[in-house]
Amino acid sequence: MTATAKTTHGSGAMVKAEAVHKSFGAAHVLKGIDLEVAPREVFCLIGPSGSGKSTFLRCINHLEQVSAGRLYVDGELVGYRQKGDKLYELRDSEVALKRRDIGMVFQRFNLFPHMTAIENIMEAPMQVRREPKAVARARAEKLLDRVGLADKANGYPSQLSGGQQQRVAIARALAMEPKLMLFDEPTSALDPELVGDVLDVMRDLAESGMTMIVVTHEMGFAREVGDALVFMDDGVVVESGHPRDVLTNPQHERTKSFLSKVL
């Protein structure tokens, strides 16, 4: 049950989920997710709030721990090390090491408010990869230029609009040169007129061949840029396929009723 036509085997997948479950105490949030994301693919996750989209995204990044099933990123098991038939929980430092390769963009931006835009972008390369300041600054300037904010380098987040903050947040994630980018409703907290700028940056990133998993309510973006789309509801994948097919010709009743409300 793969969500994409590009890969037939799991071996080459960037992300592979096998019956992934997640519970918070008594709340069973993910109830067996199976999906595959191919390299260079833009993979969109849609669904009503509380359907588990964001939780699944956070599992990929170890921000939440999977309760059952297996989740692989680039062929490596998430959160655990397997030796024989035993699983060993990863140490914090090992988790941190894996997170370096996965960029994440949050709904609420989560820029560091006490640092300027460029300092936000330089922080992780300098602190985590111990890059010299000049190298980090040069890359940060290039990234700011790429997201169209070269003139805002020395502005603090509070001096930037929501759309500008989110673009800085994307640049910050890209500074670690990740192989996978996770977007958790990146435009949901923005004024409608600011959404376009952020989507433009994401479209540009998709064209450059970045593997992206995008939790979104922007159906236009999903249709235009997405290579694969999954509709989730109540912790399960209800329907998956190419965005054009799912969005224009949904098969399941639940998908139909959801799309009729958001389109």
């Binding site: 602190q127 985590v128 509070s158």
Partner: protein, 321 residues
């Protein structure tokens, strides 16, 4: 459409929309209104000044030799005492702040051993009077006769535990318990999204704390810490009980030999007031530093404000001439 301009409320420089045309290129005419008279303020000011005058008069007529205060204000012993008080305040607060941050991080740690240790420490040091703690440190020689750190150091406890060290440990370790709670409040005030964003970038727990959480927590930590510093400065007066000589102790000594004991207390009070005033200014600048990024424009420093006022005073003069 004419407007009756005797109302006193409303922003004085907001342009009334209907009159914009008649005002010409200079913009809409500003409202000239008679302000509300606050007669109560004049009355209360007079009453307060009268009371203050009465009190000052009463003190000046009392059997107090005021001349002794300026005579001894810059006495060598007093200045030494001021220095000792400052030194003790700074060092004990340093122990308190560092200890407080460590304890707060321990208390919030997922490690149950760490959080239990921190909890117990805070419970004990906050739950007993600092004066009692000082005296216990002073008398700890009853429990430990020697201090023996193997080949590094070995001595009698009594000669190791100087009055200064007793005072420093007594005040510093007690302060750490209070600072721990202040720091904990600060750490908890930082949005969880900040930690998540930092972790998502691959930063470790320690780096996240040091680079992301603590700098933001400082905004919440600094104001109550300023309070603690001022409190500490005054609490140092307790260490006379463990034979450490600081401002109050020197002042009392002078008072006994010079026959002006009460006068010397006033002198000490004046010095304490002077020092706490200086500290308040320092706190202002520290708060301004940590407001970086959270305010769109930083508040002016007192110096900048004075300069700005001077300029604005100069301007109308130039216009009149």
């Amino acid at each position: 459409m004419s407007v009756d301009i005797t109302k006193s409320d409303g922003p004085s420089d907001a342009p009334p929309p209907g009159r914009a045309g008649s005002a010409g290129p200079a913009g809409p005419e500003a409202i000239k209104a008679i302000p509300v008279r606050h007669y109560g303020r004049y009355v209360s000011a007079v009453v307060a000044l009268a009371l203050l005058g009465t009190i000052i008069y009463a003190f000046s007529q009392g059997k107090i030799n005021w001349g002794a205060v300026p005579d001894y204000f810059f006495d060598d012993r007093i200045l030494t005492g001021v220095g000792q008080t400052m030194l003790l305040t700074v060092l004990s607060m340093a122990i308190g702040v560092v200890g407080g941050i460590v304890l707060a991080v321990m208390r919030l740690s997922k490690n149950p051993v760490m959080s239990s240790i921190a909890w117990s420490y805070i419970w004990f040091f906050r739950g007993t009077p600092v004066l009692v703690q000082l005296m216990v440190w002073f008398n700890l020689g009853l429990v430990f006769e020697y201090i023996n750190l193997g080949p590094i150091y070995k001595d009698y406890w009594a000669s190791f535990m100087t009055p200064f060290l007793t005072a420093l440990l007594g005040l510093g370790l007690n302060e750490a318990a209070y600072m721990a709670e202040i720091c904990r409040a600060g750490l908890l005030s930082v949005d969880e999204g900040q930690t998540e964003a930092s972790h998502a970038l691959g930063m470790s727990h320690a780096k996240t704390l040091r680079r992301v959480v603590i700098p933001q927590a400082m905004r919440v930590i600094v104001p109550p810490t300023g309070n603690e510093v001022i409190n500490m400065l005054k609490t140092t007066s307790l260490v006379a009980t463990v034979q450490f000589y600081e401002l109050l102790r020197y002042a009392q000594d002078i008072g006994q030999t010079s026959g002006a004991p009460v006068e010397m207390l006033f002198l000490a009070a004046a010095w304490y007031l002077l020092m706490t005033s200086v500290l308040s200014v320092g706190q202002y600048y520290l708060e301004r530093h940590y407001a970086r990024g959270s305010l769109r424009t930083l508040p002016q420093t007192p110096l900048q404000r004075v300069r700005a006022n001077l300029f604005s005073l100069g301007r109308p003069k130039g216009g009149a001439a």
